[in-house]
């Protein structure tokens, strides 16, 4: 935007500022009302002793007490925070590579691609369905329609039968089962990244491929020299999305999601545990707020580090 508009008496920056504000306004209103204000309340609860009564919510300021309790008294919180980062990063790498591969397959033009597209489109809906369960507050239907809930057990059962039938040692069977359940959780996670990559692949100018072809580049070279640099902003985008998705997820099952036991019987992911602290028998909303705040900060640190490292390699064509 280097060209100046004449005779308005305002600078381009001011003019853009005014228009930017007008365009941002509707979204900003929603954001402030339904996100920023509630977030502020949650932060203030984190520093307070909160009592919920029939007549309303009362809070008294207690300083860092909630954070102290979460870190030094609560028995599960620490353990989870420590074991959080590494498994998340492993699954993120797998998901991103897998979704790029799937997107390329969907995007390609070849014999029988209709079938390939239809099949590879399934996780998009599956994944989005699970995302729905998270955003819309966990509804049973989409969870049931999603993966893991109702057929994970069955597929494992069949595999155990089939593998035991071949006389495979039990240790190896459990390893195969682990790998399989990882496939399902990768599948469930990769819906949105696949869509992001698809849209990204579509935005690559075809002229670039024509040039590459004319210059005699092989498809292998074209992938590394054209597709990958052009899609690199989308790799960053889907990495950030996958990380946030993994951190936000509170009802997803999966081998990579560490779990803690609330009542000593059923293990749940941390966010479920935080919900249990806030709304369960403890009903300690202040402590739950402090925990989720620390959780957000921790995940933010991971995002910032990953984005910083990756942005070194991202190529913007403009």
């Amino acid at each position: 935007m280097a060209i100046k508009h004449k005779s308005k008496g305002v600078s381009l920056r001011q003019k853009q500022g005014v228009w930017g504000f007008i365009f941002l306004l509707p979204w900003l209103l929603g954001f402030l009302l339904f996100f920023a204000r509630p977030m502020w309340e949650t932060i203030s609860y984190a520093f307070s002793e909160v009592t919920i009564t029939f007549y309303g919510i009362y809070s008294t300021f207690v300083g860092m007490e909630n954070f102290r309790r979460a870190l030094f008294i609560d028995q599960f919180f620490n353990m989870y925070m420590i074991t959080l980062a590494f498994p998340t990063l492993v699954i993120v790498v797998i998901v991103v590579i897998f979704s790029l591969l799937a997107a390329i397959l969907i995007n390609g033009k070849y014999f029988g691609r209709g079938i390939v597209r239809a099949v590879f489109f399934i996780p998009i809906i599956m994944g989005a369905n699970i995302a729905v369960a998270v955003t819309a507050g966990g509804d049973v239907v989409s969870q049931a329609a999603g993966m893991g809930m109702n057929f994970g057990g069955f597929s494992q059962y069949f595999l155990i039968e089939a593998l035991a039938g071949t006389g495979m040692p039990p240790a190896l069977i459990s390893y195969v089962l682990q790998a399989l359940s990882e496939i399902f959780s990768v599948l469930a996670q990769s819906g949105v990244p696949i869509l992001i990559f698809l849209a990204g692949l579509q935005s690559i100018p075809t002229s670039m491929y024509e040039v590459a072809k004319i210059e005699g580049s092989t498809q292998y070279e074209t992938f590394w020299k054209v597709t990958l640099p052009m899609i690199s902003p989308m790799i960053l985008l889907s990495t950030v999305y996958t990380i946030t998705d993994l951190f936000r997820r509170h009802s997803m099952a999966g081998p990579f999601i560490p779990r803690v036991a609330t009542d000593g019987v059923s293990p749940v992911p941390l966010l479920e545990y935080i919900r249990y602290v806030g709304f369960g028998t403890h009903n300690d909303f202040g402590l739950a707020s402090a925990m989720s705040l620390m959780y957000i900060v921790a995940s933010l640190v991971v995002i910032v580090v990953v984005t910083w490292v990756m942005s070194k390699a991202v190529f913007y064509y403009d």
Binding site: M1, I57, I104, I125, A128, A144, L195, Q219, Y241, D318
Partner: protein
């Protein structure tokens, strides 16, 4: 349109040019077939179980393929809707309203907000962009209680807008649109400005067509959220509940005896988006790339 598909299936049968051996190609083909089988399994599973009679559903070495297909569970679900207080069409109307207003509103507001953040330079735009990433991290559960209190204060509780309005301030769509708009060449927008286009024309006639894959993507995601939202915590009046809430009542109360109904409900919830998206995906895939530029 010439799309060069890198690593596509055609390569599997063609050796030489890309230097892949026949065995390597065969291996890739087998790997992809296996992957496709894994992808397809859940749908196959769901389809078969929706048609199974109860006796087959509850067998212990569980069955995957139906032996005596039956429509019993479909009839049972339709009977449920015949006996409900609120007619089926009312649920359908509620869902249609929520989906239409919610999806289009979200796309409109997200792209309007994304445009200046991606392409303009004004005070506070970088802070705003950072805030969006922060907001992405926050699980809705974290802000659920204060958000409810605010909606209650605005008298939105027990109206469809309690589901719709919060999504207008959602950050995922904005983040997605912003990232794609950053890739649109600035010279296109400059050219539009020089030709006398105002900001709205610029956004809706120049930028939006260029990011068509992105907003179709947002459409799909947003549709999923709206289609699946039951409004469980915010809508109490039965007449205002969406279809998913009604289906949820069947699924949530499904005991062993209603396991078949549960599968039918899952199938309905799953198959309608699937049909829509198989139709929509041609829109994501057959679109013009960032053309219109001649260097």
């Amino acid at each position: 349109m010439i799309t060069v598909a890198v690593k596509n299936k055609r390569n599997v049968f063609k050796k030489g040019k890309d230097g892949r051996s026949v065995m390597g190609s065969l291996g890739l083909f087998l790997f992809l077939s296996l992957l496709a089988a894994v992808f397809f399994f859940p749908i196959f599973f769901m389809l078969n179980r929706a048609f199974m009679p109860l006796a087959e559903l509850l067998r212990f070495p569980p069955l995957i393929i139906v032996r005596n297909p039956t429509f019993d569970h479909f009839f049972s679900v339709s009977t449920f809707f015949n006996t409900t207080l609120v007619p089926f069409t009312r649920y359908l109307f509620n869902t249609a309203f929520i989906v239409t207003v919610g999806v289009f509103g979200q796309i409109l507001f997200a792209s309007m907000a994304a445009f200046p953040l991606a392409k303009y330079d004004f005070a506070g735009d970088s802070i705003m962009s950072k805030m969006i990433v922060v907001a992405l991290m926050v699980s809705p559960a974290v802000t659920a209680v204060p958000a409810y209190l605010i909606m209650s204060y605005l008298r939105l509780i027990d109206t469809p807008f309690a589901i719709i309005l919060p999504t207008f301030g959602a950050t995922l769509g904005l983040y997605l649109m912003k990232n794609f708009m950053t890739v649109v060449p600035s010279s296109l927008i400059e050219a539009a400005h020089i030709d006398g286009a105002n900001e709205f024309t610029c956004l809706f006639r120049v930028v939006m067509p260029a990011v068509k894959p992105a907003f179709i993507t947002l459409f799909i995601l947003s549709f999923q959220v709206m289609w699946g939202a039951t409004g469980g915590q915010v809508i109490y009046t039965e007449e205002l509940k969406p279809l998913s809430a009604a289906l949820n009542q069947i699924a949530a109360t499904a005991s062993i005896a209603r396991a078949g109904d549960m599968m039918v409900v899952s199938l309905i919830m799953f198959i309608i988006p699937l049909i829509l998206f198989i139709f929509m995906q041609t829109q994501v895939l057959e679109t013009m790339a960032t053309s219109g530029m001649k260097e």
